[in-house]
């Protein structure tokens, strides 16, 4: 499946609708990065939310930067706050 990548701020209700979720792939990631199915409906949604188009590499860099910042914050925590409910964030690859 082909994807497009953008950044957009989730304003809440109707940012993405049930109908839109049926029409194209959509997943949100740290740094307000969105992975969008590459079809007409996905393009329309990017326009609707005023998404700023990114390359996959640019989008991945934003996500990785957010997670690495979270890792640094986690590393700085006192040991008693590194609990089983608070595992260290893990960098992952966008589809």
């Amino acid at each position: 499946m082909a994807y497009k990548y953008c950044t957009a701020t989730n304003w809440g209700k109707n940012f993405f609708t049930h109908e839109e979720r049926r029409q194209f792939h959509l997943s949100g990631h740290p740094g307000e990065v969105w992975v969008v199915g590459d079809n007409l409906y996905g393009d329309q949604w990017i326009s609707k939310v005023a998404g700023a188009i990114k390359t996959k590499e640019e989008a991945q860099a934003i996500v990785t930067g957010e997670i690495e910042a979270a890792q640094a914050a986690w590393d700085a925590l006192p040991d008693e706050e590194k609990t089983d409910t608070n595992p260290r964030p893990v960098v992952y690859n966008l589809p």
């Binding site: 809440g12 109707n14 940012f15 049930h18 997943s27 740094g31 979270a70």
Partner: protein, 329 residues
């Protein structure tokens, strides 16, 4: 060639508009003269459901509890936002409204009931090892009532304000198999889970009918157990192991969604016998509030793997029936 009349006993109906389907109409085939399309009426339910964005919470947080009858009648309370919070918000399908706080600010608590008659129990307020506090919600304020017997947090809970169940969690023991039953006045320890777990999903309507799924620590589990009012029985497993996931519904129609680690967007539907994957969340996350029922669920707040203080809401909706246009392909 067989004719439709020969199979169904009557000719293809012509309708000027689509009907509001009933169970008896499932399988029907008709012609919509207004749109010029042939259509069929199919079963609906969770397999055709999708997640859409709802209004953002006013108070960003994770490790937050939720309860409510649907994705437009929900209550979320507690959690962490740079420390434990008692913030309580009510959702009406359009926006979140801030109401009176919990008396005991805490995260990793559980909830049961509706947005006008709710129950909040257990939780964690560091450096305390866990909270036993139970509070009842009357639609406008929280009142402290009798505590849980075995103090712990990050368990599973469901039911109503007068009939609820709390199971698993940590650290007493860690992870815990303990189960406690609420009768509207006090908690009573009852038979243990078969599999110890923290952060399980929960679905159920009373202290005699509950489903525990997922959870675990240190490894996530797919294990699912059914509570019948006296003991837990192992039933078919989830497809995706996770903990700190969302859960809503009953013991015969439930939804499991989200969770971590790693952060999950997977949603699964329980039909009383087995789990089936349905539409994913858009935002993979755990430690969120969940509310509603299997065909009308809500997930709010949580942790997405980098930002611990999510304010996003997603709502799951599925119709009982589906009208599909017949196309040539």
């Amino acid at each position: 060639m067989s004719e439709y009349k020969g199979i169904k006993g009557f000719q293809v109906q012509t309708r000027s508009e689509d009907p509001s389907p009933t169970e008896a109409q499932v399988g029907d085939f008709y012609y919509n003269s207004t749109t010029g399309q042939f259509k069929t009426i199919n079963e609906g339910g969770a397999p055709i459901g999708t997640w859409a964005s709802g209004a953002n919470l006013n108070s960003t947080r994770y490790a937050v509890a939720g309860t409510g009858a649907s994705n437009s009648a929900a209550l979320v309370f507690g959690g962490y936002t740079n420390g434990p919070t008692g913030a309580t918000e009510q959702y009406d399908g359009s926006s979140w409204t801030e109401l009176n706080d919990l008396n005991q600010a805490r995260g990793y608590l559980d909830g049961a009931g509706t947005y006008t008659a709710a129950l909040a129990f257990a939780g964690l307020t560091p450096p305390s090892p866990g909270e036993g506090e139970t509070e009842t919600w009357n639609g406008s304020s929280w009142t402290e009532v009798n505590d849980i017997n075995n103090v712990r947090y990050n368990g599973g809970g469901d039911g109503t304000q007068t009939s609820a169940l709390f199971f698993g969690g940590t650290p007493n023991p860690s992870p815990s198999v303990l189960t406690e039953s609420w009768d509207g006045t006090s908690w009573t320890e009852v038979n243990d889970l078969n599999t110890a777990r923290q952060g399980p999903g929960a679905a159920g309507t009373s202290n005699t009918a509950s489903l525990a799924f997922g959870g675990g620590y240190p490894s996530n589990t797919v294990n699912t157990e059914l509570w019948d009012g006296s003991s837990w029985t192992e039933v078919n497993n989830l497809n995706t192991a996770r903990r700190n996931l969302g859960g809503t519904g009953t013991t015969t129609s439930a939804l499991a969604y989200g969770g971590r680690p790693p952060n999950q967007s997977v949603t699964e539907s329980w039909n009383g016998t087995s789990w089936t994957e349905v539409a994913d969340l858009a935002l993979a996350r755990g430690d969120s509030a969940s509310a509603g029922v299997a065909l009308s669920a809500l997930m709010a707040g949580g942790y997405d793997g980098a930002t611990p203080f999510e304010n996003a809401t997603e709502v799951f909706s599925a119709d009982d029936f589906q009208i599909k246009t017949v196309t040539q392909s």
